[in-house]
């Protein structure tokens, strides 16, 4: 079902943690709320679930205003970061609990539990207790419990963050597959941008309770709306260099980048992705820097350079070998460079 948040606000005392959040999530859409801890993303999710009251604004699920409706009537399913399995119930009882509360007949309940368990490959563990399961299995029980009924929306609060790295990647793939099979609207909260980029139809980036940008992952990456999104998305993050624009050229003390037709703007930030820059001999390149450190990650070498006191990261070939403190030049693709306003951090469109 469609989920809408209209001008939603939340304050704890004097502290406003969600500020005028408006989101329109289409039926079947996978929306990821992305932000650092404390940015208000979990609070936003809990307001949709009904676990947190709303200080202002409206929340709609389907066509209904649910702003003041108890959680149990919203028919949403939630997966908690801690999984929140009932430790005194078997896996089957855990999965079947939401149906039992709805008075589902025993035969129907058993069939539904079995079907949900099969989706997450738990059918052999139905008689076990949560304490007898591994972390990944517990996680799957939590998912099965959410999927056992047909909820109006899935709400997931960092469901993968307690798994180890390998399992997390495997579950990410499973989760994406399950969501597209079931076609249930999903709101997914995470601080992990890789999860956000890989899972989402659209990513909503939040900072200090304010929505920064909502867009498909590719657009978030290529066309960040402001400095915060630019710095937050990407590992390593986008390089941001302060300089001035005059006569269509971005100039810093150690070089210049020709940007083509652009009005003179004075001080601006220039942003470019590490993969949009290349290392070149110092005397021929657009920008001049010194090598600060190199890290070989396997498939590439991350070269951190120092330019006028600021660090700039460039992705280089895995065979690249540079000596520390050596002078080096950086060339970049002017078409992929992004400009940001110095005062408010907003993107300057060319």
């Amino acid at each position: 079902m469609r989920v809408r948040m209209i001008d939603v606000r939340k304050s704890f005392g004097q502290n406003e943690v969600v500020k005028n959040l408006s989101l329109d999530i289409a039926d079947g859409e996978f929306l990821v709320l992305l932000g650092e801890s404390g940015c208000g993303k979990t609070t936003a999710l809990r307001m949709v679930a009904g676990l947190e009251t709303v200080s202002g604004g409206t929340i709609e699920i389907g066509d209904q205003d649910v702003t003041n409706v108890l959680p149990k009537y919203r028919n949403v399913a939630m997966v908690f970061q801690s999984y929140a399995l009932y430790p005194h119930m078997t896996v089957a009882k855990n999965i079947g609990y939401p149906l039992k509360l709805r008075g589902t007949p025993a035969a129907e309940l058993d069939a539904a539990v079995r079907a949900a368990a099969e989706k997450v490959h738990l059918e052999d563990l139905l008689h076990r207790y949560p304490r007898q399961l591994s972390g990944g299995q517990r996680q799957r029980v939590a998912l099965a419990r959410a999927m056992v009924r047909t909820p109006s929306a899935f709400l997931m609060d960092e469901p993968l963050s307690n798994l180890d790295a390998k399992l997390r990647i495997a579950m990410r793939v499973e989760l994406k597959r399950l969501q597209s099979e079931l076609g249930v609207t999903t709101i997914y909260v995470t601080h992990d941008q890789v999860e956000a980029m890989t899972l989402a139809h659209r990513v909503a980036v939040m900072d200090e309770g304010v929505l920064q940008q909502v867009a498909p992952p590719k657009e978030i990456y290529d066309d960040p709306a402001n400095l915060f999104v630019a710095r937050f998305i990407g590992a390593p993050a986008m390089n941001i260099v302060k300089g001035t624009v005059e006569d269509g050229t971005f100039a810093v003390p150690d070089g210049a980048v020709s940007l083509g037709s652009i009005a003179a703007r004075g001080d601006v930030y220039l942003g470019f992705r590490p993969e949009d820059a290349t290392l070149a001999p110092a005397d021929e390149a657009m920008l001049r820097a010194r090598i600060y450190s190199t890290e070989m990650t396997g498939n590439e070498t991350i070269v951190t350079c120092e330019m006028n006191g600021e660090q700039v990261v460039v992705r280089a070939d895995k065979d690249y070998e540079g000596t520390l403190d050596a002078a080096v030049g950086i060339d970049l693709d002017p078409g992929k460079a992004r400009l940001f306003d110095c005062d408010n951090g907003r993107r300057i469109r060319r």
Binding site: K72, M78, F80, P87, L101, Y129, G135
Partner: protein, 350 residues
Amino acid sequence: MNIPERTLLRRLFLPYDITSMAPATKVLVYTLLVLWLLVVLFPLYWLFITSFKLPIQVNDGPDFIPFIDFEPSMHAWHYILFELGNDTLRPYINSVIVAFCATVFCVLIGSFAAYALVRIQYRVKIGNVLAFLALLGLTVFTVTSLGAPLFAAAPVAIILFVFFVAAVGRYFRRALGNDDILFWIISNRILPPVVVVLPVYLMFQRIGLLDTHIALIATYTAVNLPIVVWLMRDFFAGIPLDLEESAQIDGASRLRIFFTIVLPLARPGLAATSLLILILAWNEYLLALFISTADAQTMPMLVAAQNATRGPQWWYMSVLIVIMIAPIVLTAFLLQRHIARGLLVGAIKG
């Protein structure tokens, strides 16, 4: 490094590894444990053999070992169980009914209160409390001094209080929190019971419930409630909030969550608390002395009665105490396997 050589002396006083005790320590610890065991068990043994002694053997004693020091006799058992017959059975059944009923009510009501104090933040306005006390005082004054009938004065006072709270209650700023409520509850127990014995006696005399089970059950429930609230509060606080929120989203009501999630998970606490309250109610003497006279007389009364005009009848007393501790020992055995830790393993995290 300077690892000392393991001489014989060092082997005696140094632990073999970090998980074990040094041999000398072990000997000391077990000696102390055995000594303490004797201190605990000897009175029980003494009680048991005294119940098989004749008055002459008790007076001439001390005799320690049956069949060697003295010839066991069943005379005291015969007197208590057959000659007294119903006079033993009635207090015994009274004690069972009163203690078990009081325990059930006390633990149930106390758990409700403890749960509410853990999960709901109360803000009791001090102004409202003072208004309540003032109206209470006024009611007592009008009824006792001015001769107003209670059935007229009480409703008027209640209506006045409701109006007062509705009209000015919200303008009060200073309020009491949950910790204040908890302290007020425990302060009821700090008061020595002897202070309230006479009012309680008068109260039951007025409403015609003196010497009934109801009076004893109500009194024991009220007297022991603070202990239940304080003990259960810690157990409830240890249950992760995620579990309850998850159940809420799955569609459970507050009461349902309390009975199907919270209480089962607090089972160790419930078992321990129930046992404690049962023992307190079972052994209670002072209040029973006032409230019960004949029909509702409990076992502690009967035991004390053996210290009669002819001097203490140790042999009868021993028999009564032996049969009196039996149900408690049995209950303790039944409950102790529930007083196990680790119920929450698997609830949250991997």
